[in-house]
């Protein structure tokens, strides 16, 4: 358990604390105590300290969750639970103990094809689209970039984010190396990430895997590029709920809920996330005169809709439930449209909004 070993001390400190918010995103759905942060940290502590071994159910519990983007918010000292989860998954994978559904998802990811990286100063890297295996959302992204007068080439390539999240760092490393080499070979100076998960791969995962990006390459989110270069006119979009996908949390300069959430306050939206990953969609929607709603129910912020971390592939029923939760919350707040800058989230939410009144749009689609 070499990866989890690094967190022995933190897991020891956390192992019994009910104050560290019992709920993860999945626990909010299932209400199972064994899906809570409390249960998970107690389990990981017992494994890290050699009290118990990984069994099939323990491994399953590890994957019946997301990388938990909310526990930090409810813990005043902000223990990075997601990091313990990632490292535990890497241990499980390396030990060959990953559940079959996880192996299948990694196999699918490993088998996905990437063409050659096109030569261009500016590259739209469509990592989330590659994971989806459906390029229907590429058109709106490319059109939005054209509307913003950004001359870019598109490369649909798996970034390694999915396999990394599932613990298969060997697969992730191979994909990351291919992407880094492709960017180097294609001469791009600016890489536009198609969504937060792609940006997470380029800005966080590659460093963790020891993959070096070319020094002079700047990584930027598509939403940031659009916010910087588009001047959209006012439009009647209806009542907008912005869905910040879970990976947004992992790449934000200042994490959402960077101050511990305490009862008895109504919070400004900015408290729930600062930095470009949150602000770019808000800026664009603000420029369009959109009426936006957000909840004080902070569990709903930076929360997965089930499309992140491969949950939609490994546990589609849980992922479907998370999408329903997200849509329910948007509707409860009076939203008529859910907007997200994540192609993965857009596709997954749209799939489960088919029978609803609320509409789901990828941010780029608003400019086409």
């Amino acid at each position: 358990m070499k990866h989890l070993e690094a967190h022995k001390r933190a897991l020891y400190e956390l192992r019994f604390s009910p104050m560290c918010k019992p709920a993860t995103e999945v626990a909010n759905l299932t209400q199972l105590e064994s899906h809570t942060v409390r249960a998970r940290t107690m389990m990981l502590w017992r494994i890290a300290w050699g009290i118990i071994d990984w069994g099939p159910r323990e491994a399953e519990l590890l994957y019946e969750s997301t990388l938990d983007s909310i526990s930090c918010a409810f813990d005043v000292f902000h223990y990075p639970i997601h990091q313990y989860m990632l490292d535990a998954r890497a241990d499980i994978w390396e030990a060959g103990l990953a559940p079959e559904n996880v192996k299948q998802a990694v196999g699918r990811d490993a088998a996905s094809e990437a063409g050659d990286c096109p030569e261009s100063d500016i590259l739209l890297l469509a990592g989330e689209v590659a994971q989806l295996g459906d390029d229907a959302l590429l058109g709106p992204m490319e059109a939005a970039l054209r509307a913003a007068a950004v001359d870019s080439a598109t490369w649909v390539a798996p970034t390694g984010a999915l396999s990394y999240a599932l613990g298969a760092w060997d697969v992730a490393e191979a994909q990351a190396r291919r992407v880094a080499d492709g960017i180097h070979g294609g001469g791009a100076r600016t890489v536009i990430a198609d969504g937060p998960e792609t940006a997470w791969a380029l800005t966080r995962i590659y460093a963790a895997l020891g993959i070096e990006m070319p020094d002079d390459v700047t990584v930027v989110l598509l939403s940031e590029v659009l916010a910087d270069h588009l001047t959209p006119g006012e439009r009647d979009l209806g009542v907008v709920f912005v869905h910040d996908s879970r990976p947004a949390y992992l790449i934000s300069a200042e994490e959402p809920l960077h101050t511990a959430i305490l009862p008895g306050y109504t919070e400004d939206e900015l408290t729930f996330g600062k930095g470009p990953v949150y602000e770019a969609p808000r800026r664009l929607l603000g420029a369009m005169g959109a009426e936006r709603v957000h909840g004080t129910w902070t569990r709903a912020l930076a929360k997965t809709c089930g499309a992140d971390d491969g949950l939609w592939l490994t546990h589609p029923d849980l992922a479907k439930g998370l999408a329903a939760q997200r849509l329910d919350h948007a509707e409860y707040l009076g939203a008529t449209i859910v907007v997200t800058d994540s192609p993965l989230a857009a596709a997954w939410l749209a799939k489960h909004a088919a029978e609803r009144e609320v509409e789901v749009k990828l941010l780029s689609e608003l400019f086409v």
Partner: protein, 482 residues
Amino acid sequence: MNISDMQFKMILHELAGIVGREHTLTAKADITIYGVDYFWLPRMLVDRGTLPPLPDVVVLPGSVEEVSEVIKMANLYHVPVIPWGGGSGSQGGIMPVYGGIIMDMKRLNQVIEINETDGTTTAQAGINGYDLECAVNEAGWTFPHYPASIHSATLGGYLACRGSGTISTKYGKAEDMVLSMQVVLPNGDIIRTLPVPNHAAGPGILQLFVGAEGSFGTITEATVRIERLPEVRRFRSYLFPDMHAGLEAGRRIMLDRLQPLVIRLYDERSTIKTVRRVLGAEVDHGSYMVIGFDGFEDIVAAQERHAFAICEGMDGQDLGEELGRLWWEHRYDFYFPPKVLDFPWMFGTLDTVCTFEKMEPLYWAKRKVLEEAYLEWNLFYYAHFSHWYPWGVMAYDRFIIENPPQDPDEALALHNEVWDLAVKINIEYGGVINEHHGVGLKMARHVRPQYGPAFQVIEGLKNTLDPYNIMNPGKMGFGPTR
């Protein structure tokens, strides 16, 4: 459960028929967490590589009808049922000491109504405390019950254990905030208490279930008071020459009905040990107090003027707003790792409540007797006073033994001895065995001595309501399921 494997399988089959197979858990990886709350004992056992008693099965009912069906079935087979909320209790109230069924209530988590005319909300008992707070916040209200466990505990848990929050001094404890409840009795019947708590329609049964920790029934829904979010909420801190001066200032403020939101007074030891460590306040003597008010600005200003005059009249040194605000913003830090008390230490919160006149004698007696009795273990005693009433105050007093026995049985024996002595002093000096953490397994043996002959009232009710003692056996002074 003392039944055959075959019968257990039959019971499991019936349970799955009631709540669904996906809400019926038996895998060890799933049920282990249900044996551990925030009580020192189960945590100590897990810390030392063993396990506390675990339930045979965990069920998660999704409706009050399912709760009723589970309980009716348990009655048939004489199987223990332990309601489970958020698992944040510090007394072992959820420990399945005789095995049986743990009934996790968290699927009953809906806000049914926010009634802005009455200033009430009705919600299912399994709703998480913070979720309930956010729901009422969105409507411009607050449920002013802010325990450190708010991110974990449930509404049902608040009420079942007579919980208290940071601002109880103004807004009251859980039992003061509840208007009515829906309860599933130990025979499975679903009842409602009267619609309002104040009446002359007989003795009232609402408070029978509040604080009963599931022994008399399972709370499934409650209507509680909510308050408008205040215009201002302000804090101030004072340093008194000693604890006596601080207690006297607090007493006068309460008797003058100045309605402080919070008064938290730290004894001299806590002032140095805790306040300095957690808040970084440069205090090395005296007794530190945080006092806060909320509401309309002009009313708060008037309350502050009178209260601050009392503090200064007791030689309190005004440390200003900043330290008070710092305390408010970091008030939960004390309860979170890595600052919370942890193993290998032995520790416990010996809280009690009594009238003002009795508090100081109680505090000094407990401190002296415990420290002398456990001199060889270097027992350390300290306290703060955090929940105030017009007639008295609660002592949130603690003991720490930094080097307890490592053998679990020896550790438990020492732990129980300390508690026995502390509780004896609490009762002898006019206090009660607990103010807001509840009874659970930890205090179960002290309930009969606490009530004396009056315990027959509780026992009579229990025997009538729950003749087989299926509901949370081993707690509240009662034995195993019959």
